[in-house]
Symmetry: C2
Subunit: 384 residues, 2 copies
């Protein structure tokens, strides 16, 4: 079973030889018609050449026709030469598909600090035109670095338009596979201004609510492309379905975190502001101590209180509540609960901490994963 | 060999039965004369009762006569009852030594979310008066929770006055041994206003530059007490020696981090501001990926760039430099270096990353430790 791309999108994926493993590492998605698009990139001050170029394209506001993605090399911390390489990747792709370079988004993931092997990249990009087809699966596969599985989801709107999203990322694995990507393709016709206005909020509630190890990468990028071939969509419905799709992809990334066996979900209610809710949820989901406790199936709510305390979110400790897998464990003070039963309930694929900050009425959610000895092994045992 | 406290300080330490292990868990330090003092506590919004009380005492500006510290129970997240217990700890101690309660600083460390066993505490505090003596060692021992060794250092000023400092903390170990403490006792006479003005900066450059796992505790506290018995000290000399002492204690805490085998030192130069320097150094020292790389003896400078990028510090990537154990590995782009030799040089008790942000002339330093599978074991394997 493969998942077809929305109407008038095609993709090609191949082995350009960038990855030493010989797996597919170069992929493009092409739309037959110009796309309205929205984008968000890493906030890192050491953002890769591709992210900096994407910001310029985004500001220019011209429609996109294609995305080209390489895995195996992040082209980050590569200086002025890296900027030239990234520009050449866009012009090569534009030549191959007879497009304007300004309509081609580039994205790179992989090792930091090594120049792209441009001979291999050039040969690979030329071959992209030969393999165009409509199943999204090879694209989802080709953008992977150390993910254990591809992440590909599809949704359909009531009017028949479709959204197909891919994502990758499982932490920054050695040698610095430094990226979380998500690209969503749709044949809905969507107003670009409305899409761009809503996109930062959607990203904040989805991909920016995922933490594997707290290490923001130099290459993180998410984009949505809409070519309009299925006709106009209801904007509110489109945005709701887009957020749902991106939330599920974000959860897939957390679930596939390095060395992870458990999805850690933190649901915050009663926050004084939406920012407070996100801050509280993300701080808990990223706490090394809470992640270790989840790994050990330990309903250790003291670590939740400690994480909330340092989060910066406003708390009302006199009425604050914490639940683990639905069982109340703290309300203004410790509650009596059956620790063995809660520990047994934590022996699940997903562990949910529910927190009521008792300070307001806003809510937020964040996702992470357990911290295992396997994480350390993955990130320490390589020797250069 | 024991280390004597400065003139006119005495201490007692005993087993009150708060720790199930039966180790010493209650300790007081008493000065025969009133002390000028300075203090800094956790910024956690869920600060423990002892920290909140210390802030009130500090604001009142009255001199201190004693510190009483219990280990084994943090008295944090214990609600209104915990506040009452903390107040009783101060009055019991004041009664025992015939002091005003407002001259007694309380400090608690240990499990979060459990009320203090007050019967045991009351009996213990009454017995403190019987065991007063002048060696600081039993006090350093009694404030430990999961530290593998006591942390006790002494310094002497040119005029003969002494400073004796103790510290504890090795991360927040299960079940939430939630505290970094440092107390420094001196017989120098120091102007309290000058001391209090300088103290926040000293704490920022020493204890706030240590990170074991990023989990700020509910009980962190540091204080310096000066009883003046050795006469007036030169303020500048006193502050310099105090900072040196606190820096070494901070490094001892990082070195004894949970599961740690290596001290990770990050030295930043060329920052646009002192805050930027601290931010850059701390973010690197706290990066799970860099800590894992140190554990694996991997000179993985890509992780330094990634951490700097997300730190918020202003960088000049066009001239930024990174050194590992003194060997240049990055300057505006990757440098050629002997990776095997650098990896071998990292096989040391202390691994130093030197970073020149090339953005200004400020400098800063931070300390952490390697991240080992042992950290995860310590924090995950306990089952409630």
């Amino acid at each position: 079973m493969t998942t077809p791309l929305p109407q008038d999108f095609q993709t090609a994926a191949l082995q350009a030889g960038i990855k030493p493993s010989g797996k597919t590492d170069l992929s493009a998605v092409l739309s037959g018609t110009p796309c309205a698009w929205a984008f968000a990139g890493t906030r890192s001050a050491a953002a890769a050449a591709s992210v900096r170029r994407a910001r310029q394209l985004y500001a220019a506001g011209l429609p996109l026709r294609a995305i080209v993605v390489n895995a195996g090399n992040a082209n980050a911390a590569t200086g002025a030469g890296g900027v030239t390489d990234d520009l050449e990747l866009s012009t090569l792709t534009a030549d191959t598909f007879q497009l304007s370079p300004d309509s081609v988004l580039t994205a790179s993931t992989g090792v930091i600090g090594h120049r792209l092997p441009m001979e291999k990249v050039r040969a690979g990009v030329r071959r992209l035109a030969d393999g165009l087809q409509t199943a999204a699966d090879p694209h989802a596969q080709a953008i992977m670095t150390t993910d254990t599985r591809p992440k590909l989801l599809a949704r359909e709107l009531s009017g028949g338009a479709r959204l197909v999203g891919v994502a990758k990322g499982s932490g920054m694995i050695h040698p610095d596979m430094a990226t979380m990507f998500s690209f969503v393709y749709s044949d809905a016709a969507v107003d670009q201004l409305a899409l761009r206005a809503a996109f930062p909020g959607i990203v904040a509630r989805t991909f920016n609510a995922v933490t594997v190890d707290g290490d923001t990468s130099t290459n993180d990028m998410t984009a949505v492309l809409c070519n309009g071939q299925a006709g106009a969509a209801d904007t509110a419905e489109f945005l709701a379905v887009l957020e749902d799709l991106m939330r599920e992809l974000a959860r897939e990334i957390a679930r596939d975190g390095e060395g992870a066996s458990t999805l850690l979900t933190v649901r915050v209610t009663g926050a004084l502001s939406a920012d407070d809710a996100q801050l509280a949820a993300r701080t808990c989901a990223g706490s090394a101590l809470l992640k270790s406790a989840v790994h050990g199936r330990d309903p250790n709510w003291g670590r939740v209180i400690a994480a909330l305390g340092r989060s910066g979110a406003r708390l009302n400790l006199d009425n604050l509540r914490v639940e683990v897998q639905g069982v109340p464990v703290f309300h203004a003070g410790p509650l009596d609960y059956d620790a063995a039963a809660v520990s047994a309930a934590m022996n699940a694929e997903e562990v949910v901490f529910g927190i009521d900050l008792a300070a307001g009425s806003e809510r937020g959610e964040a996702w992470g994963c357990d911290l295992s000895a396997e994480y350390v092994r993955i990130n320490a045992e390589y020797t250069t």
